[in-house]
């Protein structure tokens, strides 16, 4: 039996016109992000909307598939079997798909190495957008890997126990996180000791062409600038952030992927279909004005356009690997303890 509801019988004004008499100091509640940049709900809606058009959404997976493949290839560098792996911010399980691909061995004499998925027993794909996560649930690659899908309430709060995973992967979703330091600390917490975190995210110069040309178009047409392209973490920041979160033995590198598009509108439509449209809190409501789009087309092409009439868009990927501290883990030697001069091995001239 349902408990009787009191609320409908309460006089309406009693609920609505409640005057707040207590006042308190404006203090930062612990655990809440200090800085909100992105509207997580907008991002959720954009992803759901993108995933609703399955055909189109699959067509624009080229970038996420490529990055997921490049990220999961790095698992090869770790000679280990992973029992339980978390894919954080899984999008449409691009990492799971990349793991089940036949392993492209650079050595043609042994092309028959098994796919990467044989290196792990259980993959948990976690993502806040249900539509995106389950988009490819009935495709054949699901049978080749022991995959569990888990819908998260919020990617900024991980619902997992400490010391759960043997590795955490994350591909192209951390650039929408508001509180990156907190998330990295949580990742460190859910990892087992001496387990790696491997992530790929958009960084620094991603879409700088679009960013600058939209700024110019905004300036000239409307006399001001409004944010259209997200602020992104820089390579230099990531080292500090990972270190602050307690990761050891960091490896960070960048990789540019330049995609050519026929025109700026094709680029923006693809971004939308990926679910990667603008979700900055301070963004303007509604679409970009047509005047600005028209101006942007001319400026972008004039500034950056290729000779064949296409326009390039740069995606800068930051790949990072960090290890949770564990016993018997290899540690960097103390400073100044080197016995061999590196120039003796590598050669090279003197610095003048």
């Amino acid at each position: 039996m349902k408990p009787a509801k009191l609320r409908p019988f309460l006089p309406r004004p009693a609920i609505r016109q409640r005057i707040c008499l207590s006042r308190s100091y404006a203090v930062q509640a612990p655990g809440t992000p200090t800085l909100q940049v992105f509207n997580r709900n907008t991002k959720y809606l954009q992803k759901e909307r993108a995933a609703a058009n399955v055909e189109r959404s699959r067509k624009v997976d080229y970038l996420k598939d490529e990055v997921a493949m490049r990220l999961s290839e790095r698992l090869l560098d770790i000679d280990r079997h992973f029992n339980h792996v978390l894919d954080l911010g899984a999008n449409s399980c691009n990492i799971a798909r990349a793991l089940t691909l036949p392993d492209p061995d650079p050595d043609p004499s042994k092309t028959s190495s098994p796919p990467l998925s044989s290196r792990l027993s259980h993959l948990t794909a976690a993502e806040s957008s249900r539509g995106m996560l389950y988009r490819d649930a009935d495709l054949p690659f699901n049978k080749d890997i022991n995959l569990t899908r888990e819908v998260l309430d919020d990617e900024e709060r991980l619902p997992f126990e400490a010391n759960t995973f043997d590795a955490v992967l994350s591909s192209l979703s951390m650039h929408w996180i508001n509180d990156l330091p907190s998330l990295l600390a949580q990742i460190n917490n859910v990892l087992k000791p001496d387990a790696p975190f491997m992530g790929a995210m958009f960084g620094g110069d991603t879409l700088y062409e679009l960013r600058t040309s939209l700024q110019l178009a905004d300036m000239e047409r409307r006399g001001g600038v409004s944010p259209h392209v997200s602020p992104l973490a820089d390579v230099r920041d990531m080292g500090g952030l990972l270190q602050k979160a307690g990761f050891k033995m960091l490896t960070i590198d960048v990789d540019d992927i330049i995609v050519d598009y026929p025109d700026t509108l094709a680029l923006m439509q693809d971004l939308q279909a990926m679910g990667e449209s603008n979700a900055i809190l301070g963004r303007e409501a509604g679409a970009i004005k047509r005047d600005v789009l028209l101006a942007n087309e001319g400026i972008y092409r004039e500034f950056y356009g290729n000779e064949d009439g296409s326009i390039p868009a740069t995606f800068r990927m930051i790949y990072m690997i960090g290890w949770k501290e564990g016993p018997n883990q290899a540690k960097p030697l103390p400073r100044g303890s080197g016995q061999i001069n590196i120039t003796d091995i590598l050669g090279g001239g003197e610095v003048k």
Partner: protein, 59 residues
């Protein structure tokens, strides 16, 4: 049923036909992009917009 052309696609098609005007406008911006102010390249933009409006009306 033929698939509906999204408005943005129609917009893109029309814009593509005005590449000459878009290029003139772009050149005007690029020539001095450090001191952009409102309506700096107004005449070039209006020419581009006129072209777009004519093309958009035809299709």
């Amino acid at each position: 049923m033929p698939s509906r052309t999204r408005p943005i696609e129609r917009f893109a098609q029309a814009v593509a036909k005005c590449s000459a005007e878009a290029s003139v406008y772009g050149k005007c911006i690029v020539a001095d992009y450090n001191s952009i102010h409102k309506d700096k390249c107004l005449t070039e933009f209006l020419r581009l917009k006129d072209c777009y409006l004519v093309v958009a009306k035809k299709s």
